[in-house]
Amino acid sequence: MLAVAGLLGACGTGPAEGSSNGPAAADGKPVYGGTLTYLEHQPPTCLYLPAAGFYPNGGILNQITDKLTWQNPKTLEIEPWIAAKWEINEDATEYTFHLRDGVTFSDGTPLDAEAVAANFDVYGLGDEKLKLPVAEFVNNYERSEVVDRLTVKFHFTKPSPGFLQGTSVIGAGLVSKKTIALPYEEQCQLKNIIGSGPFTVKNQIVDKQVDLAVRKDYDWAPPSSPHQGRAYLDEIKIIVTPEDNVRVGALTSGQADFVRYVQAYDEETVKSAGFTLYAEPTRGVNNGLYLRPGNSFLKDRDVRKALQAGTDAKEVVETLFTPSYPVATSVLSHLAQGYVDLSKELAYDPGRANALLDKAGWTRGTDGVREKDGRKLQLGVFVSGPQPLSKQTLELIGQQWSEIGVKLEIRPADAGTQAVDIKDAEKTAVSHSMVGRADQDVIKSHFHSQNRDVILSDDKELDRLLEEESAEPDTAKRNAKVAEIQRYVIDQGYAIPLFEEPQVYGGAPYVHGVAFEAVARPWFYSVWKSARN
């Protein structure tokens, strides 16, 4: 591998314009036309919209579907898009959206109140007969009401302040009535997804390539977008290229224009070849280890707090990652809503860790691993496939924990075993995970016993706090609740936040105007290519 990396470093033959950081601003006058070659790391899976969170899925769906609202990735404010304006009643149980006129799906049918209602009825309630599951971003949904051709109203059983942001997320992409009436297996397939977005699917080679073509009559970009009308590009070729250094090499040798998932160790190669690195924040629950109180060792809060104090997140980032991966200072990213800085509580303190474990009655055995009542302090964790360098991260933390006498048993991510054991706190005491979403509800998604439930929570108090947060219509009060939850989670030792996980992309210097939604999925609507030099 080293030899290969060396070769890679030596072959920066791409156009060198000096390295630039951050998105290339629209320097010069945008030009229409051209094809963007975009290399994906993995093939898309099921494209049913509520499952679009998986980045390869989102990378496609973000180009072919529009949403009711647009979340400004800088301010996180919700701005108009397909909905020109909206009203929300005082306790956030009724939302009325007034749609923009003249919007059509690519099959020619109108994007009207009926279509929107049909979409959200499925996202909010699921459909037993069509096997369509409920979407994570809709809570307490009761029903829709078509007021007139362009006005739709949603009713909720309980306050749902997160719903407005929910209408802007990738999974809330609007599809034609024909698509939404299909059974789950059919909606999984890209060829059946009819959206109203700036691009349409032109051709697909399953698991290998998706070609998108511009929709020439597209004229309903978010009003806040400086670019309006059709997209600049004629075509986007999304090609699955699983090998890391083939993706990076193809970019720097000029065979591709844009790539997703530049590994931390490849960042320097991209930059030194004069290419642009985009490290986009995901603004949600941080990459970290989540400790399960249902485990017979971890039910003791002292043990959880000891593991927290005995983990050096800074060392993990400095050894394995780059400045694109900021060290975590709370359960949430510092760009998340309601974030509160808890770095003091998370300071690395092996002395305190050892003292806590001594106090809890764990004594060191001959092999250095602590024991109590004849049982070794050994905890299981699965390597997490979607997390960058998960295995290496866990190995490093395993070393840190061995210094405080705890053994971390790292198991490979074999899908079958993982699916069985992941819900068993005895076998899987620790979960390595994260979740991105730019709304206060992200913390509920991660921890609530009825949602992702990464800690397999039996903590009624935590569930209560999370429910209060998700039903609080006042933003300031809601943010205060989020802060309270972060303190509670850290204080209880449920979380060992490591770093704020970004999505890292690489782009050629002649690619301009790349934008991302709030959770780092690329939006190629305003992208244009200047002449290569």
Binding site: V4, L7, L8, C11, T13, T37, L39, P43, T45, C46, P50, A51, G53, F54, K131, P133, V134, E136, G171, Y184, E185, E186, C188, Q189, I205, V206, D207, K208, K237, I239, V240, T241, P242, E243, N245, V246, G249, A250, T252, S253, Q255, A256, A415, G416, T417, Q418, A419, V420, D421, I422, K423, V435, Q450, N451, R452
Partner: protein, 311 residues
């Protein structure tokens, strides 16, 4: 000959059934299943009860033996069921993947045989001992090169550095060049080794000096007399390398981002997509059995001494 063929076909059927059954049982014994893997996706937010309901919808709660019988009968009819991962018929997925892999494996195999023949004959013809030694060392080198590493190296040098062949985009032929080369190298090695060794052995036999004494040139002897006799063991090995072609295509297709049976297998294993895995096992067994049957039938054609033995 007819009886021989009948006997071999019977054997082949038995092998196929055994492979099917073993694979079926082993896949059932794996922990977890594709339905759990697919629907436990936290974004879907399904409870264990809901997942259990979905499962009931998929397998209809049949007994294990009945399920086995249904699957076996389906396979006999050419109905391999549905991929749980994508919901498409398995036959469709195989049909999409097969041509690409067949092209890759076929071209890789031909190139491998060509490389092997060139090495073995050059070594057999050469009188300079160091050239001979060097040529004979090549297969050992080939066989120890990991396919994965070789693929990356070829891409880095020929595509990224020298810019001779694109890996992204490019024509059908351009897209084949590097993968075929990657696949051919490790396959060429055992064929070359066996061929070179049997050429040596045959050249040591008494009939060779006799032919030489009659005035035949060294090239004539090597081509007309030695090669025919030396081809048999190499043919057997060539048949056996088929397994390696499949294994090699998994890696090659992943490195080069090509679609095919290899990628399909990799994805099916990751998602524990049992119907797809079962179909791939059966397909591989069929091809393996057919290739070996063909090799056995070819033997008497190449070697007259074997004709009476099976007639």
């Amino acid at each position: 000959m007819a009886r021989y063929l009948l006997l071999r076909t019977g054997q082949a059927t038995l092998v196929l059934w055994a492979a099917f059954t073993t694979a079926y049982v082993l896949l059932q014994l794996l922990p977890g299943d594709s339905i759990l893997i697919k629907f436990q996706n936290p974004e879907l937010g399904l409870s264990p009860q809901q997942i259990a309901e979905i499962r009931a919808r998929y397998d209809g709660g049949a007994s294990p033996l009945a399920a086995y019988a249904t699957t076996l009968l389906g396979f006999l009819r050419g109905d391999f069921g549905y991929s749980v991962d994508t919901g498409t018929p398995v036959v469709e997925r195989l049909a999409e993947a097969l041509p690409a892999t067949a092209t890759l494996a076929g071209a890789g195999f031909l190139l491998a045989v060509l490389i092997a023949v060139v090495i073995a004959f050059a070594a057999g013809y050469s009188r300079t001992s160091w050239i001979r030694g060097a040529l004979l060392a090549v297969p050992s080198l080939f066989v120890s090169v990991p396919v994965f590493w070789l693929g990356i190296l070829l891409i880095q040098v020929f595509s990224f550095r020298l810019g001779l062949v694109p890996v992204i985009g490019g024509s059908e032929i351009q897209q084949l060049i590097l993968p075929v080369l990657t696949l051919a190298v490790p396959i060429a090695a055992p064929i070359a080794q066996i061929l070179a060794r049997s050429i040596d052995r045959v050249q040591a036999q008494p009939f060779v000096p006799v032919v030489a004494a009659k005035g035949a040139s060294r090239w004539w002897i090597l081509w007309r007399h030695v090669a025919r006799n030396a081809a048999l063991p190499a043919l057997t090995v060539a048949g056996l390398t088929f397994g390696e072609l499949i294994a090699g295509s998994v890696v090659t297709e992943t490195v080069f981002g090509r679609n095919g049976i290899g990628r399909l297998t990799e994805q099916a294993v990751n998602a524990q997509d049992t119907p797809v895995m079962l179909a791939v096992v059966v397909l591989a067994t069929v091809v393996f059995v057919v290739v070996n049957l063909a090799v056995d039938v070819l033997f008497p054609v190449l070697d007259p001494r074997l004709r009476t033995a099976v007639a």
